[in-house]
């Protein structure tokens, strides 16, 4: 059952008046709205949703990241229209899916956004509230470069420790290992051509 987002929004406003919240509409076919939570109050919001006896969001099933590049820098990524999930780019977003197993309600989608994509990429960790976030936050740190403050063991989980890039970012450039492409086509053909012998340039 999908959660009653307006009711939860009103409830959070009443219980946590200091929290900065926004109700994000999703005009897509899924119609899955979400709550945009300011990073400063993310842990408090999660704690309330977790501890509240009637809401009882006891399960954090999924944490994922989204990279919204600066639209001024790239036009390769089509950003959603004004007023929807992401009106402006140039930040990293972390998405949380909360469920209540006792009430069979979910997912409640929370979103938290960093200030930019380079330096101020800090989002508070929710591991203290939901232990299941630990590995998923490490994965987001690894692949998107979001730094989770308060995480007990923030290091790369998929790539090696010496790795510097964040592969799931839109501006990530994969290493060039197209030396041998037996059947290249499309984008792979363009990359493989860089390795063709000079004599074939005719």
């Amino acid at each position: 059952m999908t959660p009653d987002l307006p009711a939860i929004f009103t409830r959070l406003r009443a219980e946590l008046p200091a929290a900065t919240l926004a109700h994000l509409r999703n005009p897509g076919p899924s119609g899955q709205d979400s709550l945009l939570v300011a990073p400063a109050c993310l842990v408090a919001v999660c704690q309330f949703l977790h501890d509240s006896a009637d809401l009882d969001f006891d399960l954090l099933s999924n944490v994922t990241g989204v990279d919204w590049p600066d639209p001024a820098l790239t036009d390769a990524v089509a950003l959603p229209a004004e007023g929807s999930a992401a009106a402006v780019g140039g930040f990293l977003e972390v998405v949380y899916h909360l469920y209540s197993t006792s009430r069979r309600v979910g997912p409640l989608v929370l979103r938290a956004r960093s200030v930019d994509r380079a330096e101020q990429v800090h989002i508070p960790s929710v591991v203290a509230v939901y232990r299941s976030a630990e590995y998923q936050e490490r994965e987001i740190f690894d692949l998107f470069g979001v730094k989770f403050t308060g995480h007990p063991d923030l290091r790369r989980i998929l790539m090696w420790d010496e790795f510097l890039d964040h592969p799931m970012r839109k501006d990530y450039l994969a290493p060039d290992d197209y030396q041998y492409e037996p059947t290249p086509h499309d984008a792979v053909l363009e990359k493989a051509k860089q390795h063709y012998p000079a004599t074939s340039e005719s």
């Binding site: 790539m159 290493p175 290992d177 041998y180 053909l189 004599t199």
Partner: protein
């Protein structure tokens, strides 16, 4: 010294078997391959199935999967080799004692397979270790693995132990440990071992397409 085949046949009919040490040693090696027990992805499930009763790899003398590279002489690279795993695979290969053989099982181990465009997938284990037999398939059926094993047995039976064309393990000046790739800032370094693998130097007409 070559054996007179007709004389050998005559002696065989009287119960005397004549052979060469080379054939005898190769027969022993080919008939008792001990694979290294490790799997990287779904191909490993087919490899396990090949060892079980229905396909019964024991018929070909390769049922003793060893958990230690020191005791193994066949490495079946069964599955996708990620760049994070590649140094470990090369290290395991180095730890195996000669003579040692490698089967690249499945599209991923051969070329990266369906994941070859991934930033973290090695485009074929032959970039770092010499592969004796490649088995195509995604994943190959257990019969294909058995066929690959028989192919390897045929190759071992033809190995020369002396002379210019002797096998790598019979050559005292043969290569020792292969360099293990390092974890770099953006990719493993080097991207391939030029002593083992080099991009094929065919030319292609780039004016087309």
């Amino acid at each position: 010294m070559a054996i007179d085949l007709k004389l050998a046949e005559d002696l065989k009919s009287q119960g005397v078997h004549v052979t060469s040490f080379e054939s005898l040693i190769n027969w022993g090696r080919a008939s008792s391959l001990w694979p290294l027990q490790f799997g990287l992805a779904c191909c490993a499930i087919e490899m396990i199935a090949a060892t079980m009763a229905k396909y019964d790899m024991a018929r070909f003398g390769a049922e003793v999967f060893r958990p230690s590279p020191r005791q193994a002489d066949l490495m079946i690279v069964a599955g996708t080799v990620t760049k994070k795993m590649a140094p470990q695979v090369v290290r395991l290969y180095n730890q195996m004692a000669e003579p040692k053989y490698v089967i690249a099982m499945g599209a991923c181990a051969i070329s990266g397979g369906p994941f070859k465009d991934g930033y973290n997938v090695l485009k074929g284990i032959d970039r770092f270790i010499p592969v004796d037999v490649s088995i195509p398939g995604c994943p190959p059926r257990p019969e294909a693995l058995l066929h690959g094993l028989i192919t390897l047995r045929e190759q071992i039976a033809k190995e020369k132990l002396l002379g210019q064309e002797r096998a790598r393990h019979a050559d005292p000046k043969g290569p020792g440990d292969l360099p293990v790739p390092e974890f770099g800032a953006h990719d493993i370094e080097p991207a391939f071992n030029p002593d083992v693998w080099n991009p094929p130097s065919f030319t292609r007409d780039v004016s087309e397409s």
